[in-house]
Each structure stands twice: as structure tokens, then as C-alpha cells.
Amino acid sequence: MLYRVIDDQELPALVEAFMEDYEVIAPVRSGASYAFHHVDSFDQIELDYTTTITSLKKYVLPPKETLFTFDADANEVTDFSLTVRPRVIFGAHACDINALNSLDLVFEDSRYRDPYYEARREGLLIVGISCSPTETCFCHLMEADEARTGYDLFLQDIGGRYLVSIGSVTGANVLESACNPREATDEDRIAFRQATRKRQDSFNKDIPDVQEIAMLMDAFHSDPFWDELGSRCLACTACSSVCPTCYCFDIADVLDADGRTGRRERVWDACTSPQFAMVTGGHNFRDSNRNRVRHRMYHKLNGFLATHDRMLCTGCGRCVRACKAHISPIEVLKFFEEKGA
């Protein structure tokens, strides 16, 4: 990995350089929280944001997208076409870069590639930025606190300046053209180490580290704990809406007013939706909040690990904030800490 250092005064120029060829998406204020949004100037960006209400997922898997259109009179289905605006995400935290990496594993699986996802993903540059953990962050427990791949540039704040990890040629070129990147000095490296240590120390210590969580979950699949969790669930799907790695979707045809033309749409779906596992004939494979909440937690902390060797949960904490019923992976970790002890 190549490292360079830039001054914080150089950031506006960096953003402006990206704006020449890309739509810039960055964290902005949204009520009492933050959201990723299109920005027109550097001043709109809140680089020291905590977390956003929803994730970057919407840029690769929109909440609603047209897959193709059809015309019954002409008996025609239009071929897939998608004009993607090249974008740069400016200011992604490590957990969210790792979330996109996990989505890649799903949608770019060579057995069933998803052209819609791939087109959007290909047009996406990522500039990461370092962060300070909030009360609800536990990415360090999910091995998602550091982005090893999946970015073009990563900016590590080392006090008045940034240590920039360069992850791609495009990233390097834009950096070169907009800033005066210099070699990192020993002093920079020391500052980097200090910043890293400070961050590691500031994670919420009330969230337990349960190394063997996946295994324990296998052993306690029928524990009354799941009944209790399910009894609180509102069946609202807020958890999956905000989650950066929930990738389930539904597909439906929508007709135009003339009843002859229309489009096939893909919309987000969620396993916490009561109808998610209902099949033709009306049987529901997960017919209670208990079974649905349990399923979600297993996919996040157990199932994905088995196939992809990493947790699907990145510990971003969004569902912790969004779930009114206080159902989240943190609750599961706490429960199994007690069980394991």
C-alpha cells in the first residue's frame, strides 16, 4: 500500500477535483442525524459525522429500481440498459467500505452476477475517512474496523493533516492533480499509530467481545432468549432498511395507466417482514416474530460467516439506533456473553 500525506486545507481542492468528473456523494446533516447525499460544494460535507440513518447501499442497490420495461401491444421487453453516473463517495467509514465489500461477494458472485449492481458498483469511487466510534459502534468486534480493500483513497486524520492510503490508480491521479501529497515522515507515522490506538481505546466497552458467537448460536438455536426478543419485535423492517449489508429484494410488475405498458421493479425486502418467507399456497416458513428476528441475527452473525468467512454484520450500529424494540446484534452478543461465561 502506498501512503502519502496532505494538509487538511487541501481537502476542498480534492473534493473539487472529483467534482469535475464525478457526482460527489458525502455525509450531510439530516435533522438530528446525518445522511449520504449529493453535494455541490465542500462546505456541505460533514466529515466528522458520527453515522448516517441509512447506508451507502442505496447507491448500489436502490430502494426501488426498474429492471426492464415491457409493452404488451408490441409484445416487447426492452433489454436491460442502465446509464450510470460516475460517482465518488467522499467520506465513507471503514465499516461501510467493508459492507460494500460484503455486498460484492453476493452480487458479483460469478454464478449469478447482477448486471444492475455491477454497473452501479463499477461507476463508484470510494474515498474513506477515519472515524471515532460512537456508543453504538462495534465494528472492531466484527473485524470491520479497518478497510483493507475496497477504496480508492482512505484519509486517516492525524491532526491537521491526513495520512492517505492510495488504493487505486484513479485515486492516485486525482490526489496528485489536486493536492501536493508528500512522503510520510516518522512523525506522521507516530501520529498515525497514536490516532489508531486512541480509536481502539474509545470503543464502547459495554459491548462484549464473544469470539465464539457463531458456534454458540448453533448451540442455542431454541433458547427462550429468541422468544423474548421476538415478543418485542414490531415487524417493521427498519433494521433491514438501515442496514448496509441487508441485500434482500422483491420483484414486482407495475403497469402504466394504459394497462398495456409497464415495468418490472426491484424493491428492498426484509426477512423481518411477516410475508418474507410466505410461499405459494400460503405456507409461511417463518411465521412468527421470534423466527424472523432469529433468522436475521443468524444471517448477520452466523450464516454468512459459514459461506463467506466473514460476519455479514459490520457493527455499524445503525439498527441499534433504528430499532424501537432494542433488538440488535449487541443484545445477542450480551446474551451469549452470559451463556458462554
Partner: protein, 261 residues
Amino acid sequence: MSETVSLHGKRPRVIIIGLASCFGCQLQITNMEPHLLELLDQIDLVHWQLASSDPLPEAFDIAVVEGAVTTKEALETLRKVRRRASAVITIGACAATAGIPGMASRDFDDQVESVYGAEVPVAAGSLVRPMAVSAVIPVDWEVRCCPIDPADFMMALQRFLTGSNRLAPTATLCGECKRNERGCFYGRGQLCLGLVTRSGCGARCPNLGRPCNGCAGVSPDANVAAARVLAEEAGVPAQRFDVALQLFNATNEDVCPSGAR
């Protein structure tokens, strides 16, 4: 799962009638201006109560019903409608949940007396305790909310013109609200019925900065008991939650039991 109306190559004959309601949902249909003619092209609108005082036709395929049932006459009409129509679509909260008229269902006799005195005028009909249309006859599809979204009405008609196996959603509203990237009223100690209300409207009201009033009705999969506890935790007394629920769910015994609370 809906089946298309059997047409034998003809355009389906459609009637639109209103029971106890403000006629706002029927007006919403006329508000579809850009699409109304395209839609009318596909059907044979044989009777629209808003535009005619003719009696109910003898034969039709699809009946669109607005409003709650509040009279014996309405009960009769609905039974007639159900016998004649292959598909019954209701529009609006009043038809789906008894809606605003449903609020009179509690202490019904007292309510009637306080409005009409001892003698109910003949023009009011023979009053019965307000009911949703589905409490009287089987309904094939309900277009929800107060008022309806014309696009939802269009989709409902198309269900029976072309067929569709899409289910009415039963997940509650907060998931849609989060997609709008909005904070939550409960964080500010305000009440919002999104916790238990059926999704489908796209969390329209919270997106406009107003709490959900629950006009889509409480979802059959809602967890009202848990929601009351959570509201209380967030500084909204459960009793206020119960009162708010009465606006659009007064005749739902599971949600607003006529006894306690």
C-alpha cells in the same frame, strides 16, 4: 391471490358507490386527470354515484365501494353489490377500517342521541353501529388510506383487469420511514402510529414532517402490546397511544377493545 374478472372479451362493467364518507376518495379518482381517460378506456363505467342518482344497475363486474357501513340500507346495498359483482374493491380508510365514522361505534346509542336527540330523522336512515365493509361482505381488495392515493386505485383496478398475485403488505410503517432517511418522532417525545400501522403509503406523513395517524389501519401483524410499552418508554403515555388508535381503528376489537382501556 386475485383472479381476473371473466370478461368474455368485453370491457368490465364497473360501478362506484359511496356509503358513509366524505367522498374525498371518489374525488381522488377524478384527480387522476392525466391518467383517468386511459383508465376509463379499459372499463365500462356503468354507474358512478357521485355523478348520477340512478339506481344501482342490475349487472356489473367490478364494484368500487367508498365509505363505512352505518345504516341498514347500506347493509342491503352491500349484499346486493356482492351478489352481482365478481370483484369488490373498497377505497379509503372508512371502507377498510370504518375510519372516521367508526369513531361513533363506542357508546353508539349515546352518540346517536347526542347528535339527533330522541328522534333520528328519516333522512339519516336506520342507523346501525358503524362497520368496515369487510365486516359485512367479503372484499377482494382494499385500497387504504385517507384519502387514497390514485395510483393505488389504478393498481387495484388493474389487479382485476390483468391479474396479480401481489399481497397487501403487513409489515408496519417504520421500515418505510427509515428509507426516507428521517429521524423519529419518538426521539422527540412525540407520538406516531407508524409503530403499528400497515406499510404501503411510503410513510408519507412522517416524510412531510407529521406523525402517522394510522389511516392505513393497524396491520394484522402489528405488535400493539409491545408498541405501547415502547411508546411509554419513549415518554409517550400508553393511554395517549390508545386514544390515538381510535381515530382509524375504533371498530377493531383487537386494537381498541370496547371494554377497558
